[in-house]
Amino acid sequence: MKVTIDAARCQGHGRCFNLAPDVFGFDELGNGVVLVASPPDDRAERLARLAQVNCPEHAIDIEE
């Protein structure tokens, strides 16, 4: 799995880093950043997908 955030779309809703704190973090403005592009286990992958479907701006891309 490869996770990316489209910084041009992200508006800092914070859904990703709250739902999947092992995969996503935030910068000083509170916008989302990817901490671990390839989540190491099933649980992290599942949470990354959950973050994706909750992002209001559709800013998260996941390549399986």
């Binding site: 508006q11 800092g12 809703h13 914070g14 859904r15 880093f17 709250n18 935030f26 000083e28 403005l29 509170g30 959950l50 479907v53 909750n54 992002c55 209001p56 701006e57």
Partner: protein
Amino acid sequence: MENPPVTDFATDWDHTDPAWVHDPYPIWDDLRQRCPVAHTDRYGGAWFPATHAGVSAVAQDTEHFTSRTVVLGNGRPLEDAPPAPIGVAPPITSDPPFHTIARRLILPAFAPGPVRALEPRVRELCRRLLDDLGDATEFDAATQYAQFIPPGVIVRMLGFPEADEDMFRDFIHVVLEGVNHPVEERIEEFAPIEAYITAQIEDHRAHPRDDLTSYLLGVEVGGQPLAPEHVFGTIILVLIAGIDTTWSAIGSALWHLASHPDDLARLREDPDLMPIAIEEFLRFYAPVTMARLVKRDVEFLGCPMREDDWVLLGFPAANRDPAVFPDADRFVIDRLENRHLAFGLGIHRCAGSNLARMEMRVALEEFLARYPHVELTDPEAVTWSQGQVRGPRRLPVRVASA
């Protein structure tokens, strides 16, 4: 002042109509099926998209819609009345490119780090409010609890005297609920507030400290300090945007728990569910609706919109759209997929959303820790606010400790 009753919300809607204030959801369901963009000649012409897609399209489009004013009313602000392009309350009333600068300035103060640092003080505030209720088993959860939390938080952030919390609450009412008062009256109502904030700013200028006010006074853009009206406008915005909204969100969540014992029990038994439940509270009882003005004549969402028409962005209506949410009209406390728009969408996404979520969580955690059992004393006595911020204003409850 009351407007004439509405006969058909599709062609003559009015968000201040008693039916809309009391229970807007069936109205929006109906509009979604029939229109889905409703129109009214009231307020000089206004549109209301009722779907998630319609609301999103307008919120994301800053080319055809301006945020010059976001509170729908009878008049239109003159182009040059607020100091363009700053607007009265940057960044919410600013358009790009100025918006980008004004927003970047305040975002660091509301980022997760600073919000986390504030949490212990919020918890202490909530506990003190609960202590103040003493042994009472019946009280008003809106006016005696929820209402005090956001002003307490904002006053601490701005570094204003904590003793002034109550005054802010009254002041919010002036701003948000006085929209139908004549202009002269509004200016008069505003004067003491303006004087108070100006005095606070002066005090901070003379004695800088570690708070948001001092930050705004010290920060520079392109080597220049912010214009005085920018500092003033942002403080006003934080007061207005941060208080009524969050009070309403906390109140709605308490209303829900007091009237849905199953969900209350679920949350009591599984406290880890809280963050997920909070997103569902936000979806289901989204408190905030915002307006835009049409910049110039345009055909949008199939509607002939004219320059200076209003568009009301019903984030709460978008959140009930069955095209996006299965069982949209059902509150599902563990709803995992929840792309709600309670904090808006696009460049104006609520700058205070991290703070608001933290306040909601701490307020509910502390309330439930003190009172595991809560119910409405009289459902008929509950009243809901009118206007663009929706939440319970009277919420009589009966509580029991463990």
